[in-house]
């Protein structure tokens, strides 16, 4: 069966390594579901995020390692330094997720704190806690290069200087091409003196019923191959939907496109600038600072530097906006000017924050700490993190869909992922969603309810979260370009064939709902109530608009959506107003 079969447990304090059977994976689908269960069981409510007692749990889904298309995702659960939520980050697993499964592990639990910088090397049963003195202090690129030089081919999860210095918005990088963010997961590794994980899998993954599995994969691949926009997606990735720079400029800069192991589309880039290479999870991300008025080459230089420090670019720009606001109010004295159009100014602040120098030390603590210290509420911040989708933010999506509601209801805080629901694409007529909602496994009568009189965003978000949980637990990429080919039926068929555990579509969806509810309730028990889910006040001052009518939205409208979501998810009794 397609599970690797073991969970690896590494205690860095006592340098102890244990392995045990991953039977739990079968009860919680695998990957995201398995790690969510482990997180809810192992993360104690009194533990603070940067304590050695906060575990970091990393896992790969039930289909990871197979050739089912785009099944390479990795998820990392922990108590998040940005807000104390039991949360997670996920990323395209590049080669790491597959290597982890081939090494024999569905998940790795890392506990404790090493007495000096280390990295963990995993090669099947051969596991070492290795000295990392010579790579501590290096950026993501050099860290990866040195580990590959020392250990050979394999997958790497690493932190840069931002993670080492416990920046609350540091991230973990996968093979220097993909990110596990947000919420400061990099700082959890830093707090453990853990610079990186290296894994090489020389083993294998098998599927239980080859004939059945092959049939489902073949059909998927045929549909993908005949999709008219396939070449354009392969060529442009996210730039197709978000044209941050002209196509010809991008193509001139691009050296190579890279895909995660089983992905037929690919969306990572190697670009060439200033005679050097930039490895990036997406050219769109790389260009984002251009929205703030920076020229595109400087935007690339800045994002590449932030990536090398291992720092969340959105949060970096957000915290600087807040610092400038505090400075204008006379509440904060800055070490230098904050000019979003100047590369020098931005690099100055990136270094200050990554190394916690001067005012950078304060900014590195993130929004929650800054708010506490200055008594000023930062704009568009939810659960200690700046929302991606804001009506006046750098990315202007002022129609309120599942992505926007998801910013406040996601237990870990605001995030770019909305579970692959169709409201990613604003202004599409609601009726065009019907096919997509059916693929997500939403029953007909519920689709009718969701699409009656506009779109019931709260209800739709509930099913988006369930759909996301299915995809994430199987290890399937949730991006629109991929998830449009999958359906709940196909997921159940692939899961049953690969694992040998017969699972109907409804059983799979029920388990996924149970997993999401478990996460939301674990956070509720840890103190995250309805109050924490409320939208920021500044969202309604000439802000968000109804997804269908375009009419201005009120806070009461959003609270109604929240209630609709809680009821549909079976959380009404806990989160009632």
């Amino acid at each position: 069966m397609s599970f690797a079969g073991k969970i690896l447990r590494v205690d860095l304090t006592n340098r102890k390594i244990n392995k045990y059977d991953a039977d739990l994976a079968k009860d919680y689908i695998g990957g995201f579901g398995l790690c969510a269960k482990l997180a809810c069981d192992l993360i104690k409510s009194e533990v603070t995020p940067l304590s050695p007692l906060n575990p970091l749990i990393i896992g790969a889904g039930a289909l990871v390692g197979t050739n089912a298309p785009a099944t390479s995702r990795i998820y990392a659960f922990t108590k998040l330094p940005a807000n104390g939520a039991i949360g997670w980050g996920g990323g395209g697993g590049v080669t790491f997720a597959c290597n982890l499964k081939f090494a024999g592990y569905d998940a790795v639990i890392i506990e404790g704190k090493a007495d000096r910088p280390v990295f963990i090397r995993i090669e099947g049963d051969d596991i070492d806690i290795c000295d990392a003195e010579d790579i501590w202090g290096l950026g993501i690129n050099e860290t990866c290069e040195k580990i590959w030089e020392e250990c050979g081919e394999g997958g790497i999860l690493a932190v840069g200087q931002a993670g080492e210095n416990l920046v609350r918005f540091s991230m973990v990088y996968i093979d220097r091409l993909s990110t596990v963010g947000r919420g400061g997961i990099g700082a959890v590794m830093g707090s453990k003196n853990l610079k990186a994980l290296f894994v090489r899998g020389s083993g294998s993954v098998e599927v239980k019923d080859r004939k059945r599995f092959d049939k489902a994969v073949k059909e998927l691949l045929e549909r993908m191959k005949s999709y008219p926009y396939l070449k354009e997606w392969q060529e442009l990735g996210l730039l197709k939907s978000l044209p941050a720079i002209p196509r010809d400029v991008y193509l001139k800069l691009r050296k190579r496109r890279i895909a995660c192991v089983s992905c037929p589309i690919g969306d990572k880039d190697v670009l060439e600038l200033d005679g050097g290479e930039i490895y990036t999870t997406s050219a769109v991300n790389l260009m984002t600072p251009a929205v703030m008025g920076m020229n595109y080459k400087d935007a690339m230089r800045l994002t590449a530097k932030l990536d090398d420090y291992g720092m969340d670019m959105f949060e970096f720009l957000g915290i600087l906006s807040f610092a400038r606001e505090l400075s204008e109010k006379g509440k904060l004295e800055l070490d230098g000017e904050i000019d979003f159009t100047s590369l020098d100014s931005m690099l100055f602040w990136a270094k200050k924050i990554a190394f916690r120098e001067g005012t950078g030390d304060l900014l590195a603590n993130g929004f929650a700490e800054m708010e506490k210290k200055f008594g000023v509420k930062p704009k568009s911040v939810v659960k200690g993190m700046r929302a991606y989708a804001t009506p006046k933010g750098p990315l202007i999506w002022n129609l309120f869909g599942t992505m926007e509601l998801g910013q406040i209801l996601d237990p870990r805080g605001p995030h770019v992922a909305a579970g692959g629901s169709p409201t990613y694409f604003a202004k599409r007529p609601p009726e065009s969603f019907r096919k997509h909602l059916a693929r997500m496994g939403i029953p007909d009568e519920k689709i009718g309810e969701i699409l009656s009189g506009g779109i019931k965003i709260g209800k739709l978000l509930c099913y988006s979260h369930i759909w996301f949980t299915v995809l994430a637990s199987l290890g399937i990429c949730a991006r629109a370009q991929i998830n449009r080919f999958y359906s709940a039926d196909i997921c159940a068929e692939l899961y049953s064939a690969a694992t040998g555990i017969e699972m109907s579509k409804n059983q799979l969806l029920d388990k996924a709902r149970e997993i999401w509810r478990m996460l939301k309730l674990a956070n509720f028990r840890a103190g995250f109530t309805r109050e924490d889910d409320l939208p920021p006040e500044d969202w309604f001052d000439d802000g968000f608009r109804d997804y269908v009518t375009g009419e201005p939205l009120t806070k009461e409208d959003v609270e109604r959506m929240m209630d609709e979501y809680y009821r549909e998810m079976g959380l009404g009794e806990f989160m009632r107003g």
Partner: protein, 54 residues
């Protein structure tokens, strides 16, 4: 690297990097001596990076 996965799956009956007859090194494909040129890897490549040469 879908080519690598399908090769091992076809000939070793399991998904594996090490059991594959096609290896990807520095973004280039290399073939082991066992490769019988069946073309499965070409079928799985969505990028046009591999082609059968007669």
């Amino acid at each position: 690297m879908r080519c690598v996965l399908v090769c091992s799956y076809t000939y070793a009956k399991k998904f594996s990097f090490s059991a594959s007859r096609i290896k990807i090194k520095e973004y280039r494909a290399e073939f082991t001596e066992d490769c019988n040129e069946c073309g499965k890897c070409v079928e799985q490549c969505f990028y046009g990076a591999l082609e059968m040469v007669k």
